[in-house]
Structure formats: C-alpha cells, structure tokens
Amino acid sequence: MSTPSLTSSAAAAGATQATATREITLSQAIREALAEELRRDPRVFVIGEDVAEAGTPFKVLSGLVEEFGKTRIVDSPISEAGITGIGVGAAMTGMRPVVDIMFGDFLGIVMDQIANQAAKVHYMSGGKLKVPMVIRTTLGATRRSAAQHSQSLHAWVSHIPGLKVVLPSTPYDAKGLLKTAIRDDNPVVFFEDKMMYQLKGPVPEDEYTIPFGVADVKREGTDITIVATSSMVQVALAAAENLAQLGISAEVVDPRTMFPLDKETLIASAKKTSRAIVVDEGYERYGVTAELAAVIAEGAFYYLDAPVKRMGAMDVPVPFSPVLEDQTVPTPATVTEMARTLCGRV
C-alpha cells in the first residue's frame, strides 16, 4: 500500500502529479514501452512470429518495424523453443531479447528453454552468466478460441526459481512494468490479457517505470479484500462496484507481479478487512489462487473471520461454445456473489 507515488494508479490518473497523462489502450502502452526501450538501448530486440510487418496477430507491435527495422524486430519461423533458446544465448552474450510467444498456451513447447535454461543459467554458473530477457506472452479466455488458445498458464512459470513473472492489469501498469522487465537482468515472463488489449486507461506522457514486487491497491475498502490478477482486476473492480451498492466495501489488491510477490500488502489488506477472496484466470487447482490464498491464510491467520476463498478458471479444458466457455471464468456476478456469501450478506 505504500507504493511510491509514481507507481500507484492514483498517481497515474494525475491526481497528485504534474505530469500530463492521456488515455491509451493497453496495446498502445505495450508498444510505447517497447519503442522507448528499443530507442534507449541498442541491445534490445524483439523476436517472434509475425512481429514485423504484421505487428503480431493482435497488432500490438504495429509500427515498430518501420522505426527499428527488420534486424531489431525479427520475424521468426514457427519455432517457439528455438527462438526462446536463441533469446537465452543472445541474452547471455550481451543482448536484451524480447521474445514474443503469441499464445500463452504455447508455453508447453518452451518450458525447457525457460525453466531449465533461462531460469537456471545464473545460478548454475555461480553467478557468472546472466540472462536478461523478456518473454512476452498472453493469457485469457472468452475469445471463442477453444482449449489450446485460451489458457492462463502463469502458474507454471511462477513456480520456477530464477524467473520473474508479471501480470499487468491496466495500460499504466503494463507500460511501467514492461520497461522494468526489459531493464531487469533476469528472465522475466510477461503475460498480457488478450481481451484487455483495447482497454483504455491513463498513462503519463513522461517516462516512468514500476518496480517489481509492489502490489497496487486498485480500490480501497474495509469489509473484504479481493486479490485479483490481470484480467480479473477489472472483474474485481466491477464486483466491488456491485458490492458498494449492497453496502459492502471491497478492497481490490493487484499483486502485479507473481514473483517477486508483495506478500506484505496482501496480508495487510486481509488483516484490515478480515475476509479475502483471490481471483485469477488460471485453472484453479494447483494454480495461482492456491499460492495467494495460502499466503494470506498463513499471514493473516489470526485476523481472518472466514476462510480465504479461491476463484480460478474452472478446472476444465476451455470449451469453444460460448454457453460453455462463459461459465469457466469468474465474472463480476460470481465474484459479487462469493463476496456476499463470505460477508454473510446473502
């Protein structure tokens, strides 16, 4: 909660800052972060499938190749393991690669390169070598893309020592955290919610970065804590709005980075409100909600009035049919319902 002023979203909104801000989309925020870092540091380059002229299928990188050319915005074959490995080697030898893995679902192909190579090189070499690289990928369902293009697999990488894992939930956070990721000397996996690319939010004109490991209280409240990640932050905020109508004051806390994890802020909020729900779009079982819930249950044990409740994606492969898919992800309605139950207000 004691976030440096420049990093809190309130600050971003211009409340206490002289800096001019404008509304841009999350997609634009990502693009700006990349463009600024590409300009600042000649070691940075982007590699991935259709990242150049196409600007990725999500058009997130549109325009970069025009400014930076095809040697710094590199179209690759459909070889995710290969480009990740090339990223690791290039990072070890002085570059700062940003590897684009189009869908987070493809992490299964690159886990060896991420978890056995990138994550371990620094430690195995006794601290001599390092791997300053960013893997940008996506998460999120409800795009009607079915089981192999809709997963949120950030739990896999969050489990692995040596990696840092980032899940921005607003354009402001996305830009500041991506710049930090690129400047970090470690492998960072950066998850973007595909459904949020068009989400608009205030972003300062001036340069800024956001430190890792600092949770952001997206909304203050006193009755219940809703810890939410990425896509689920907007869901939690909408639920908090519903709850306010019902006279329940919900605090929404966004950890922003899965590792390093700002346990203190999560625990402090739960201690204050004495109730907590954890909402994340990954599969619920053995997922991120388990870690966050366990951290809060342990850290706020003597303050909790009710068990910490977990709301992840349903433990099923993501179905295609809209009537089925829409049930698999927490919504403002289901989060509101859970909060009401937890507060004994049903």
Partner: protein
C-alpha cells in the same frame, strides 16, 4: 440427419469407365469443401459464428486427393485449417457447421469448434490448434496400426509453417526407423500467417524428410490427379510395411490466414491472389480435365455443384437452428 460423405474405395487412377465414379466423387468432395468454406466466411461476416476460422479454399485438391487414396478406417490428423481435411475424410456438413457454431449436435458437442473437429467414425483423430502438434498423434496412430497387425495408414496433414516445429523431425526419424505406415503431407500454401515461407525456411523443404531416408514426392497441389497418384503410391508403400512417405504439395490459400485477415496487401499482392484463383484453381482445373477427357459433361458437373449447394444450405440451416449444449455439459468429458 447426418449424411457422411464416405470416402470411396480407391480406384485405378486412369480415367477409364470404372474410375468415373472415383473422380466424380472427388470432384464432389472439392465442391463440398469450397462451398462449405464460402458459407463459413458468410457466417463470420454476418457475425453468426463465434470466434475465427481458417479457410481451406484453394487447397481442396490436397485433402481430397490424399483422402481419395484412403479407406474409412485409415487415420488422419489435421490442423487449424482443418475443415477441408475433415470433409475429405468423410465428415458430414451439417454436423461440422453445428460444431463451428458451438451447438450440441456438433461433432464435439460444441466443445471443440473450428480448430478441433474430430470424428472417430471416419478415422479423423482431430484438427489441432498447435502448429505441428498433431505430428506425434499421426505417427502414434501409425505405430498402433503396426503394433495391432492392421494395415491402416495414418496421414498427417500440416502446413509449410509446421516445418519450424522440432517435433515434426523427431517423429519423422522414428517413423523411418520403425517403418511406420504414415504419410506426412506438407501443404505448402506459400504462407505461414502473414509471412512467405521463403522468409522462414532455409534450404529445401523436401530434403528435411529425405534426410531421414523418407521418400519425398513433390506434387502440384492444384492438380488432383497428381496429388491422388502420389498418395496412392505412398499409401501402397505404407500398407506394404515399407514405411513412411513425405508428400510436398504446392498450393495456395485464397482467403486470409483466418476470416478476419482482410487487409493482405502488406504481405501479398492482389495480382498474386488473382493469378492463383484464375489460373490455378483446383476445381476449375479438374472440371476442365473431366470435360476434356469425356469423364463428365459440364451439365453433370453443374448438377453436382447444385446438389452440394443444397447440402450446404441445409447444413447451415440445421446448425443455425440447432440448440446449444446444456450449460451443465461444461464439466463433462474432462475425464473418460
């Protein structure tokens, strides 16, 4: 209600009297795919289909030529651009549309959608949304066929882009080593998404299979006779226990990478698209040949086209009318 287009028994490839049925069936199959895809595009443009789809239009001769050499109990695996393979292997139009619209009557009860149609009845082990991801499955099906003492063949369809995936090399090595009855059919439609294959592939495509001792046939993927002949030969080899083959078919996709890829000028020219449609259309080429060789009259071919048109219309109507799955199905079929 489902009228599955059963793959006919394979027939000699010369257009003699006995083969007429074979070729007309393949012609019909190409028509079914072409018209199916046109309607998928319509459904997308009119916002009646959830999500996206990758159309096979322009590539029909590959799926149909290859599947024309298969038995119903042979296997195929398919890709994100899979409608053509499914239909060629015998899928029913109406059940496919139902799947694309997420309906209960669909092949996967709406759980799979465009990229995951599977149909055990016709040996279709499923489309796959992971590029190259089905190479192991097809090779494994061939492994099973051999282990079970059957003479079934498995066909792995994949695009030029899938040659970027290491898995494909791993399984080709094993298929060659163990003489598995599998055909690797590479559909080089010139592009992987928005990038020409020459920008992502070094050296020679065929040589990659040849390196494992797998015989490679390069065919004109717009010429159904060439494709079918190559497939017949490879299938015969596989059934005889002589091992895998690699068929490299040069072809072209008429539409964008998916239905939403409308602005394509930055990666390919309108002239190029028009050239292929005008000069290299597999259906027109086949029709011309069928007429020239006296296998069929124009009227007969038009009758087929019109029958297919009716089948497609009925299929779309069926799917639009069909109910969605019950919401409770979401938790079913996670485990067998």
């Amino acid at each position: 209600m489902a009228q599955a287009g059963q793959a006919s028994r394979k027939t000699p490839s010369a257009p003699d009297a006995g083969a007429r049925e074979h070729w007309l069936f393949l012609y019909r199959q190409m028509q079914r795919i072409r018209q199916f895809e046109e309607q998928v595009n319509e459904l997308y443009l009119s916002a009646r289909m959830p999500g996206l789809a990758h159309l096979y239009s322009g590539e029909e001769a590959v799926a149909v030529g290859v599947c024309g050499a298969l038995r119903q109990d042979d296997y195929i695996t398919s890709t994100h651009r899979g409608h053509g393979h499914c239909i060629a292997k015998g899928a029913a139009i109406d059940l496919m549309y139902a799947e694309l619209l997420g309906k209960e009557a669909g092949y996967c009860h709406g759980k799979g959608g465009s990229m995951h149609i599977a149909d055990q009845e016709t040996g279709n082990l499923g489309a796959n949304a992971i590029v190259g991801g089905s190479a192991g499955i097809a090779t494994g099906a061939a492994y099973a066929s051999k282990a079970q003492g059957l003479d079934r063949v498995a066909v792995c369809f994949f695009g030029d882009g899938a040659l970027g995936q290491g898995l494909v090399y791993e399984v080709m090595n094993m298929a060659a080593l163990w003489k598995l009855p599998v055909l690797y059919v590479c559909e080089n439609n010139q592009y992987g998404e928005y990038t020409h294959w020459t920008e992502t592939q070094a050296g020679s495509l065929g040589a990659r299979a040849a390196a494992f001792g797998i015989p490679v046939t390069e065919v004109d993927g717009q010429d159904i006779r060439a494709v079918n002949a190559a497939a017949e030969q490879a299938v015969a080899r596989a059934r005889a226990g002589e091992g895998p083959s690699f068929v490299l078919a040069t072809t072209y996709r008429y539409y964008g990478h998916h239905v939403g890829d409308i602005q394509r000028a930055y990666y390919r020219s309108r002239e190029e698209e028009e050239y292929w449609r005008r000069e290299r259309d597999p259906i027109s080429l086949m029709a011309a040949w069928l007429e020239a060789d006296g296998v069929a009259t124009r009227a007969e071919l038009e009758a087929i086209r019109d029958e297919v048109d009716a089948e497609i219309k009925a299929g779309v109507a069926f799917a639009l009318d069909a109910p969605y799955p019950d919401p409770s199905e979401v938790t079913q079929d996670v485990y067998a």
